[in-house]
Structure formats: structure tokens, C-alpha cells
């Protein structure tokens, strides 16, 4: 066993060594601390830089978002104008027919009048011939008047639709009559396709709403059916039913075309969603309908459809006026051709 003095010597040796070691350790710890401080400093600078970068990126994103919003607004405006364009084209097509008839009738009248004039100038008009000519001219004038009246009606419709589409203001109007005007004006879209279009509902239903929005909704539904539900050779039916539902108007738009898949039905109101982008569709039609119904007219819209089972949009809108007494169902069926 070591003696006490040996133990003391050992303790002294150990303590000396430990002192020496702790001096060395302290110096190393100081360096380690300085390294830690430097690292911290650098990391703080990096964080500040990345914060700046993030702020920059965030501002860029904000700018891009604003640009996107603006582009979206422009596209929505363009889509609206294109709907108006469809109405104009439709009305122009409709007016063409009565005007054409008028031209034919007028030229016939001109020729009859010339023959009658010649006979009168020769002072030998047969009573029967003169009467015949006068009757022809009278018939012609009737035809011209009738067709000009038709054209005037159409122009009136067009004026109303055009004004309604460009000026957004509420007024009280008859839903049945208005829907007829709208469907009548887009008749040309059917372009000899075997598709029937009917509007069914009470004749005296009045609503205080924005008629232009109605025109837009119906035009979008119809163009949608013609683009997606039916192929150009398909025969089919489109039906627009409307009725009261409490204080509201319930409008159902049906077609018996191809239907919409469950997967797509979730997205139909999303802006720019279309299954026909390559064919010039913008994917904004139903988004605009949704915005008009929900945001502008404060109503609701719902779509029921399955692939192969056609499609039904139910639109419920407020603003229905109290009923009058002489309610009479109107039914109008107009063929696509």
C-alpha cells in the first residue's frame, strides 16, 4: 500500500495536471465559444437575407396575383361581350328573314304597279286587270307591313337585350316573355340542328331583377349544351321550366345530352375549367353564371347530372313579385330548325 506521503505526492501531481489541463481547456472553450458566436452571426445574416428574399418574392407574387385578377376580369368581360355578340348575331339572322320577304314583296309590288301604270297611261285599263293589280299591291303591302312589324319587334327585342346586357339595372319584367325573347334571339345558334327548345311556365310571373343577367345565364346554358351535351349530328331536347318556389323563382334548365361526369361536376364552376380548351372554349361560361346567380342576384345554383343521363341546372332567384289573378300557363315549343 502507498504511504501517506506517496498519496500526497500523487494528489499534488494529479492536481497540477488537472490545473494545467483546465487552463488548456479554458482556452479551447473560448475558441469554441468564438466559433459559436461567429456561426450565430453568420446565420443571423443569412436569415436576414432570406427574409429580404422572401419579402421580395412575396411582393412579386402579390404583383402576379394582381395581374392574374386583372386578366381574369378582362377575360370575364370578353366572355360577356362574346355572349352579347351571340345575341347580336342571332337577332341579325332573325331580322334577315322578314327583311328579305319585304324586299321580295316590294319588288313584286313595284313590277305590278309599273304594269298598272303603263295600262293607265295607254288609257285602256280593263277593269278586271286594274283590280287584280290593286289587290296584288294590297297583298304585297300587307306582307311588307307584317314583316316590317316582325322586324321592328325583333329590333325592339335586340335593343332590350343589348341594353340589358350592357347596362346592369333591375326592373320588373315578365319572366316568360323575357325568356322567349332570349331563346328567340339565339335561335340561329341551332343552325339546322335537330334540337328542340321549349320554355314552360306561368305567363304572368313577374320578377324584380336584372334582365341582362337572365339573358346571360340562359345564353350560357344553351351554348354549353350545344358545345358539350350534343354532337353536331345529335337530336335532342332542351327544356326551360320555371315556377314559383315560396318567394323565389325556380328555374330549371334541362338537356338530355351527354351529361357531366361526377369528377368534372365538382369543377364546372371553377374559372377556366373546360374539357374543350383546344376547341376555343375559355372555361369561363359557367363561372360567370355562378357569379351572376350567387354574387349578383343573391340566388343559388345546383347541377344534377350523370354521364349519359343529360343535365339539369336548378337556379333559385329572389325578387319574385306577388302573383296577379289571371294566371295562365304558357307553353311554347320552338324547334331548332
Amino acid at each position: 500500500m502507498p504511504s501517506e506521503s506517496e498519496n500526497l505526492e500523487k494528489q499534488l501531481r494529479t492536481l497540477r495536471k488537472q490545473l494545467e489541463r483546465s487552463e488548456a481547456d479554458r482556452a479551447e472553450l473560448e475558441i469554441t465559444k468564438e466559433k459559436g458566436d461567429a456561426l450565430l452571426h453568420k446565420v443571423i445574416i443569412e436569415l436576414r437575407d432570406s427574409k429580404k428574399n422572401l419579402e421580395l418574392k412575396s411582393a412579386e407574387l402579390e404583383q402576379t396575383l394582381q395581374e392574374l385578377h386583372s386578366t381574369q376580369d378582362e377575360l370575364i368581360q370578353a366572355e360577356k361581350m362574346s355572349a352579347l355578340g351571340l345575341l347580336v348575331a342571332g337577332v341579325a339572322h332573325e331580322i334577315n328573314t322578314p327583311i328579305g320577304v319585304c324586299v321580295t314583296a316590294a319588288s313584286h309590288m313595284q313590277s305590278t304597279a309599273k304594269t298598272l301604270l303603263d295600262t293607265v297611261r295607254q288609257n285602256q285599263p280593263a277593269h278586271s286587270t286594274a283590280e287584280k293589280s290593286a289587290l296584288h299591291i294590297q297583298d304585297g303591302a300587307n306582307i311588307v307591313l307584317r314583316n316590317l312589324s316582325r322586324a321592328a319587334d325583333l329590333i325592339q327585342d335586340f335593343k332590350r337585350l343589348a341594353v340589358d346586357s350592357s347596362i346592369q339595372s333591375n326592373r320588373v319584367f315578365n319572366i316568360g316573355e323575357y325568356l322567349h325573347s332570349v331563346t328567340g334571339s339565339v335561335h340561329s345558334l341551332f343552325n339546322k340542328r335537330a334540337i328542340t327548345l321549349s320554355v314552360n311556365g306561368p305567363s304572368d310571373l313577374l320578377i324584380d331583377s336584372d334582365p341582362g343577367s337572365f339573358a346571360q345565364i340562359i345564353t350560357s346554358f344553351i351554348t354549353n349544351s350545344l358545345a358539350h351535351a350534343f354532337t353536331p349530328d345529335d337530336a335532342g331536347n332542351i327544356r326551360i321550366d320555371f315556377e314559383t318556389q315560396g318567394d323565389c323563382l325556380c328555374l330549371r334548365y334541362h338537356d338530355d345530352g351527354a351529361g357531366i361526369s361526377t369528377e368534372n361536376i365538382k369543377q364546372i364552376y371553377e374559372p377556366f375549367f373546360t374539357t374543350r380548351r383546344g376547341q376555343g372554349r375559355s372555361g369561363l361560361g359557367l363561372n360567370i353564371v355562378f357569379n351572376i346567380v350567387v354574387n349578383k342576384l343573391k340566388g343559388s345554383i345546383h347541377c344534377d347530372s350523370e354521364l349519359g343521363e343529360g343535365c339539369c341546372f336548378t337556379v333559385v332567384l329572389p325578387g319574385l313579385q306577388p302573383p296577379t289573378n289571371n294566371s295562365e300557363a304558357i307553353k311554347n315549343v320552338s324547334a331548332g330548325n
Binding site: K10, R13, T14, R16, K17, Q18, R21, D25, E28, L29, I31, T32, E34, K35, G36, A38, L39, H41, K42, V43, E46, S50
Partner: protein, 393 residues
């Protein structure tokens, strides 16, 4: 039979320290002759004299060991400038054999293979464990592990730590019997009815901006993000030299990362920095750091992993290999690492270990061995009683 005793002396005088550890061991051995031993000694000792003293006491001892950056044991807990000796007493049920491979700096794979080849002939039972404490400076540690993996039967766990020289990064020494080496790979192979379990955890986390290693070769990184690796370090550490307590987190393809610590060697001319272990060219990297709480939490996690893997029995012995960088950052709290180990594993379990320049273990037993930095490895050993019972039947 598998007994383990441990001794530890903090006497800076080599002769007195040797007497200390021999006396402590003999008192515990009560006449038994140990078959194998592990010796971990601080760099300032006269190592040749230490080895002679130990081998004079037990001439047939299968002894390996190395120099360190701090020592721990169940006798004196954490110490610096000390020496600790663990001795294994086993009958034929557990066979232990030592070997050494030289010139690891020249051909690390051949060196590792020759160490195993030297130890293997004495064993005729299935290999259970390889403990190794190789050179750390100017060697490719991964190549040493590759050599060991080639030489050992598949699935043999390799656990250990790289020799250190108390943060000087000049010369480390490895021990084999009476012989003292540098640039060597000592191994201690365990065969037969031995059960072992281990845990490994780090506590370092990546910090700062990610970068890419644009030019590297083996352990040397020349460029990070097209700039000298030394500049990268200086950006983070100021004018201080790269050191192993600020390792790089090297990311794998699955977004996991492992740590590679600078060895302290760098070249001001080329701006290259050397690491303990290979850093692949093209790897995504990030500076990483830790604090004392995270380091201690990871040590605890490593022990709990080992205890969980070992099962309900108390182990016969425990070994710890902890990174020297942990000691550097833990400072006056270094002793808490071992105290946690003792509290979790049991106060009576003979244990020792050292602070290393790099750690070695698989992530889990049976899997491939990895070279780690900044980790704490806990290794628990004991007799495999199930194997004993099966043998009896």
C-alpha cells in the same frame, strides 16, 4: 462464465498510474486470469511503459487499445489525462482474440483485413462482435470499415472509436499486446456465447444555407459551391480553423443526413479541408451545430436504445465511445454524459470508454457498419444464456 473488471487511474505519472490500475484489477480478479483487455490512455503517458506493465502482469492477455481525448469508467467517471483498463475473464464459451493491421494510411483495406486474419485463427466459434480502435489521422476511415466488412462474416457488428490525441491532431497511437503503433488498425474479436446490443445518437442539427460539394477526393474537400472549402468554413466560423465540433451535415438521397467532422488538417494554399471520413463530390451539405442540452439528450437516447435492444437482463459490461467534439462543447458538463449512462445502465455494471476522433457502429445490429462523427455509442455486453441453454439440451 464471462466476468469483466475495470480499473482507472488519473495519476499523470506513468509508473504510478500503471501500478494503480494493476492493483485495482488484481483486487477485483481474486486470482482469475483475464483473457483479454482494452486499454484507453491519455496522450501524455509513456505508452510503451504502460503496455509493458500490463503485459508483464498477464503475458497471454489479448490486449488492444489506443490514445484518447478523455476517458470514462465506472471507477472514476469522466477524467482527462488518465488511463483505464477493462479486463475480460471468460471460459471457452466466449472466445476473445486480438489482431492488428499496420500501414492503414498506405492501404487501409489491406490493413483492416490483415488485423482480422491475425485474430481469427484462435477462434472456433461463431463471431459475435468486433471492437476496433483504429488510427484517425490521414487515413480513410471508410476504407478501414470496408476492409473489416470484407474480412468478417456478413452481419458481424463492428463497434468502436478512432484513436485521438487530445485535440492536437498530430499523432495518435494504437496498442496491441506489448506493441505500440501509429497508422494501425487493432481489432478485438469476440466469438461464442456473447450477447451484445448498442445504441447510437448525435444531437447535431444542420443550420445555415445548404451548399453543394463541388470538388472532393476521399477525405479531402476542395470546393463547396465552387469556392474553396476553407472559405466556406471561414464564412461561418470567422477566422477560426475548421474543427470537428462544427461538422458538415451530408445529405443522402432520402433527405437523411450523416455528419462529417473536419480533422483539423487544411491547406491555406489550395483552401482544402480534410475530414474524418469521406465526403462525396456532389453531396448536398449544410453547416451543423449543437448545444449542451441536445448533446446530453442524444447520449441518453443512445443508452436507452442499447438497453432496449439488450433486453431485461443486466449486462456484464458497458463500453462507451463518445466524440471528442462532444467533450469540447460539453465543457464542465462532460461528466454528465457518463453519469447519465451510469444512472440508466446501472451503477454496478463495470464500464469504460473514451472520447474519440470518430465513432464506428452499425445503425442496428446485423446491418452495415457506419463511420460516424459527433455521436455517442453505447455498447452492452454479456453472456448469451439462451445459447448456453440450447447447448445443454
Amino acid at each position: 462464465m464471462f466476468n469483466v473488471v475495470v480499473s482507472h487511474s488519473n495519476d499523470p505519472d506513468t509508473t504510478s498510474a500503471a501500478e494503480d490500475i494493476l492493483r485495482q484489477c488484481k483486487e477485483q480478479l481474486v486470482g482469475q486470469t483475464p483473457t483479454a483487455g482494452l486499454l484507453f490512455a491519455a496522450i501524455d503517458f509513456d505508452h510503451q511503459s504502460l503496455l509493458n506493465r500490463v503485459m508483464d502482469a498477464w503475458p497471454n492477455l489479448q490486449l488492444i487499445g489506443c490514445t484518447t481525448d478523455g476517458e470514462v469508467s465506472s471507477v472514476l467517471a469522466f477524467q482527462q489525462d488518465s488511463v483505464t483498463l477493462m479486463l475480460f475473464c471468460a471460459d471457452d464459451s466466449v472466445q476473445i482474440s486480438a489482431g492488428i493491421g499496420l500501414d492503414a494510411a498506405g492501404d487501409a483495406i489491406a490493413s483492416a483485413k490483415s488485423a482480422v486474419a491475425q485474430a481469427t485463427p484462435a477462434l472456433n466459434q461463431p463471431l459475435r462482435l468486433c471492437i476496433t480502435v483504429p488510427e484517425s489521422l490521414a487515413v480513410n476511415s471508410k476504407a478501414i470499415l470496408d476492409g473489416l466488412a470484407e474480412a468478417l462474416p456478413e452481419g458481424t457488428p463492428v463497434v468502436g472509436g478512432l484513436a485521438a490525441d487530445r485535440w492536437q491532431f498530430n499523432t495518435t497511437y494504437q496498442f496491441h499486446g506489448r506493441s505500440l503503433y501509429s497508422n494501425a488498425v487493432p481489432v478485438l474479436l469476440f466469438a461464442g456465447n456473447l450477447r451484445c446490443a448498442h445504441g447510437v445518437a448525435s444531437g447535431w442539427q444542420p443550420i445555415g444555407n445548404p451548399g453543394t460539394v463541388t470538388r472532393s477526393e476521399s477525405n479531402t474537400v476542395y470546393e463547396i459551391d465552387g469556392k474553396p472549402a476553407l472559405s466556406y468554413y471561414r464564412e461561418y466560423l470567422g477566422e477560426h480553423e475548421p474543427s470537428s465540433n462544427y461538422p458538415l451535415a451530408v445529405f443522402t438521397e432520402d433527405e437523411q443526413f450523416y455528419l462529417r467532422a473536419p480533422s483539423g488538417e487544411f491547406d491555406i494554399g489550395t483552401g482544402s479541408v480534410n475530414f474524418f471520413g469521406e465526403v462525396p463530390q456532389g453531396a448536398k451539405i449544410q453547416m451543423s451545430q449543437s448545444n449542451r442540452d441536445n448533446i446530453l439528450a442524444a447520449s441518453r437516447e443512445s443508452m436507452l436504445q442499447a438497453i432496449d435492444a439488450y433486453g431485461p437482463d443486466e449486462p456484464t459490461a458497458a463500453l462507451y465511445f463518445s466524440c471528442a467534439s462532444r467533450r469540447q462543447l460539453l465543457g464542465t458538463r462532460t461528466h454528465e454524459e457518463f453519469e447519465q449512462a451510469r444512472d440508466n445502465i446501472g451503477i454496478d455494471v463495470p464500464s469504460c470508454g473514451f472520447y474519440t476522433n470518430g465513432e464506428i457502429s452499425p445503425m442496428e445490429l446485423g446491418a452495415a457498419t457506419h463511420f460516424h462523427n459527433e455521436t455517442f455509442i453505447s455498447l452492452l455486453l454479456g453472456p448469451d444464456n439462451k445459447a448456453d441453454e440450447q447447448a445443454k439440451h
